[in-house]
């Protein structure tokens, strides 16, 4: 293929992925709002409400606070959204292998994941409001706290692959897909991996800044914190970034823990089904979307309905102490399993 074609394919792929992520993310948000309303004994908004919200925000004036630094203030939401969509380029979406899988691995994803947080911090500080500053400080602390368990999980598995499958690149999601972790782990490792899954789900909630970890934007305390001054188009972009996050983070969990597809199973059990490649693709993408939705229901909808907001020191203690300890135990279990100690 010529270089131009690769570039073109990349651009078109990114566009398609971006639109898919935004549309799907907004729908997931709609379902999340509806379900959480039902959990709270309410009716809740119609499913298409997030789309309407975005439309309304885009129509509204974007106010620039007097004390704000304009270029930082305006670029923060763009960077946030762009970084999240680029994470998707490195992640396998169901049956579709990662678009840029060849040029980056898990390390890139981990780095890219920090960018939206940093953009929010910078945007918050640059808006020059005391509420936004406090929100940004809190976001900073939260960012540092949930990175630790997150990287612990990823690197434990990378180390595991370097032992179990030395021929495959350890830090690539491709490896997670071809050799699912559950297939190489014994009982002890299974328990370890389950603990990791729970930890990762809690990290996801923190990363998405939902109750009980919505500390940086805590509405009743600091009036939406970081976003206190954002309005109109800028806020719409943050809103979209939040929606895309609801696809990206579950996609990471899926890539690590549930890289399975439905179509091989289907064709095995129902050989009569007319399973062309395209149908299989469609089925698998739908299956992927279902997995994303389920993870969102557990990590977002359920979490934000069943708990009260924590204070920042309590959240840090949870991540650094409780989840870190759980992570260490899980790591030891996995290690023991892989090394054949148990």
């Amino acid at each position: 293929m010529c270089e131009l074609c690769t570039l073109l394919a990349g651009i078109i792929g990114t566009l398609v992925l971006g639109i898919f992520a935004i549309a799907f993310g907004l729908s997931v948000k709609g379902i999340d709002r509806k379900l959480s309303a039902r959990m709270q004994w309410r009716i809740g908004p119609p499913l298409r409400q997030p789309f309407r919200d975005v439309r309304k925000l885009l129509l509204k004036q974007s106010v620039l606070p007097k004390n704000a630094v304009p270029w930082i203030y305006n670029s923060a939401p763009v960077i946030s959204l762009a970084a999240l969509i680029s994470v998707l380029l490195f992640l396998p979406i169901g049956p579709v292998p990662a678009l840029l899988g060849a040029s980056g691995d898990i390390i890139v994803v981990l780095y890219l994941l920090i960018i939206p947080g940093i953009a929010m911090i910078v945007g918050g500080f640059s808006s020059g409001s005391p509420f936004a500053s406090i929100g940004a400080q809190r976001e900073m602390v939260l960012l540092i706290s949930y990175e630790l368990p997150l990287s612990m999980i990823v690197f434990t598995f990378a180390w595991m692959y370097s032992i179990v499958a030395p021929s495959l690149p350890a830090l690539s999601f491709e490896t997670f897909g071809t050799v699912p972790i559950w297939s190489v782990l014994g009982p002890a490792g299974f328990i370890g991996a389950t603990i990791f899954l729970v930890v990762l789900l809690i990290v996801t909630t923190g990363e998405m800044a939902k109750v009980p970890f919505d500390i940086p934007e805590a509405e009743t305390e600091i009036a939406e914190g970081i976003f206190a001054e954002y309005s109109g188009r800028n806020y719409a972009l943050f809103y979209l970034a939040d929606a895309v996050k609801m696809v990206v983070l579950p996609a990471i969990i899926i890539a690590i823990f549930f890289p399975y597809n439905l179509s091989p199973l289907l064709s095995e059990y129902f050989p009569n089904l007319p399973m062309s490649d395209w149908v299989a693709y469609g089925v698998d993408i739908l299956f992927f979307m279902l997995k994303v939705l389920l993870i969102d229901i557990v990590a977002v909808t359920f979490m934000r309905t069943a708990f009260a907001r924590m204070k920042i020191d309590q959240a840090v203690r949870l991540y650094w102490f409780h989840l870190f300890t759980a992570g260490i135990i899980a790591m030891l279990l996995v290690a023991a399993d892989v090394m054949g100690v148990l």
Binding site: A223, R309, K311, D313
Partner: protein, 414 residues
């Protein structure tokens, strides 16, 4: 303050802030997340109710004015006012009226405490409990509507008695509501008091010591949570409370210790809901027969009040704490010569300062909410003229004119 001023931030909480449902301004000096200085400013919500009662209205009109001091304690304020007027004019209240007043006041307490539990949960980001408690509160609202004719402004108090009797059907309706709450109480208690995240946010937060509570004259559940057994229903019985024998509820009855933090205030309020259910049962069981009002003819009553001369004090234990009204009547004049309303929040604002000092910013909403503050609505707006940086106060007329203009503008586009 030892810190240099640069390290300190000033955070204005209010007059308009999502944590505050009513306008009040808290200026917090913070150092990181820790609060080192608090100042309260209240000048957002004075409506001149006392002035109206002293200059414009006659006694009967004042009942409804007092009802509008607060939307939630709308039985306590008129109750308090009629007690004061009855003392000033020397009117004896029939026993049945005492009982009916007690029942309605206790129904209000159930609704107010449930409402508060929801608001407090919302302040710590627990919207689920907020929605549940408000849904459960509907039952008592419906019962109140059935008994008094309206959900919120009950309009049941009258000088010398009450305006509506509790008939057989109304009694049945109240009993139905009480059964509902007896059944649901355990669930509410479980949801609020046994939740780990709520405990994390409220235990050892916003502590008010017994000493501070006495010094700063805290009242109601705030004082009781700090271990001061002060309850007007017990100390200074009115209505049917002396017959029923109400005792002040302290948090150690449930937890075994008194800390004086937000959690203790939650405990006190929830136990009071249970106590109120019992009080209403007792009052309904023992309600005497007879008149419900001392003077049925309102025209006679009005002229009697016009001739009266004297002063009186009414005290009522509102859901938020002690409510006190002082009324002075002068012969030949319909409006009161003097009227002073002291709502519970008046005394519970100063305790915010010791509660908040040393707390974190994240604690402000729940600590403020834990006293169940009530500021009522605004009477003037301060706007800053951007071009000249001149601050001026918007008068009511000007604001009215502006709103009328805006409404017209909007109506053209409909």
């Amino acid at each position: 303050m030892e810190m240099s001023d640069e390290a300190l931030y000033t955070i204005p909480v209010g007059p308009v802030h999502p944590a505050l449902k009513e306008p009040i301004e808290l200026d917090l000096r913070v150092e990181g997340e820790r609060i080192v200085g608090v100042d309260v400013k209240c000048s957002q919500a004075h409506r001149g109710i006392e002035w109206l009662g002293m200059n414009r209205n006659n006694s009967i009109q004042n009942i409804y004015l007092a009802e509008r001091v607060c939307g939630i304690c709308n039985v306590c304020h008129p109750y308090c006012m009629v007690l004061a007027v009855e003392e000033a004019a020397g009117i004896e209240v029939p026993e049945r009226a005492d009982y009916i007043r007690t029942i309605v006041a206790e129904m209000e307490r159930i609704h107010s405490h449930l409402l508060w539990a929801g608001v407090a949960a919302h302040e710590i980001g627990f919207d689920t409990v907020f929605h549940y408690t408000w849904a459960l509160r509907e039952e008592i609202m419906d019962a109140i509507e059935y008994v008094t004719g309206n959900r919120v402004t009950k309009g049941i108090m009258m000088i010398g008695g009450v305006r509506r009797d509790i008939t057989k059907e109304r009694e049945e309706r109240i009993r139905k509501a009480l059964r509902y709450y007896e059944e649901k109480f355990e669930k509410i208690e479980d949801l609020v008091l046994h939740d780990k995240t709520i405990r994390m946010r409220t235990r050892n937060v916003g502590i008010l010591t017994r000493e501070d509570a006495l010094k700063l004259c805290a009242v109601g559940p705030v004082a009781r949570a700090s271990g001061v057994p002060k309850d007007v229903r017990q100390d200074y019985p009115y209505g049917a409370y002396a017959d029923i024998g109400v005792r002040a509820i302290l948090p150690d009855q449930y937890t075994g210790e008194i800390i004086g933090d937000v959690y203790d205030r939650i405990v006190v309020r929830l136990l009071e809901v249970k106590q109120s259910i019992q009080i209403i049962h007792d009052a309904l069981d023992n309600i005497p027969q007879g008149d419900i009002v001392a003077e049925k003819n309102l025209v006679k009553l009005l002229s009697m009040l016009k001739r009266a001369e004297g002063e009186g004090i009414g005290r009522v234990e509102a859901p938020r704490g002690e409510d006190i009204h002082y009324v002075r009547l002068r012969q030949g004049e319909e409006p009161f010569l003097s009227w002073k309303i002291r709502a519970p929040t008046y005394n519970n604002v100063l305790p915010w300062i010791p509660m908040l000092l040393g707390a974190e910013i994240a604690d402000v909403p729940i600590v403020a909410a834990s006293t169940d503050p009530c500021m009522s609505c605004l009477n003037r707006v301060t706007v800053v003229d951007e071009s000249s940086r001149k601050e001026f106060t918007l008068t009511k007329e000007r604001m009215h004119e502006m709103s009328v203009r805006k409404t017209r503008r909007m109506m053209r586009h409909v």
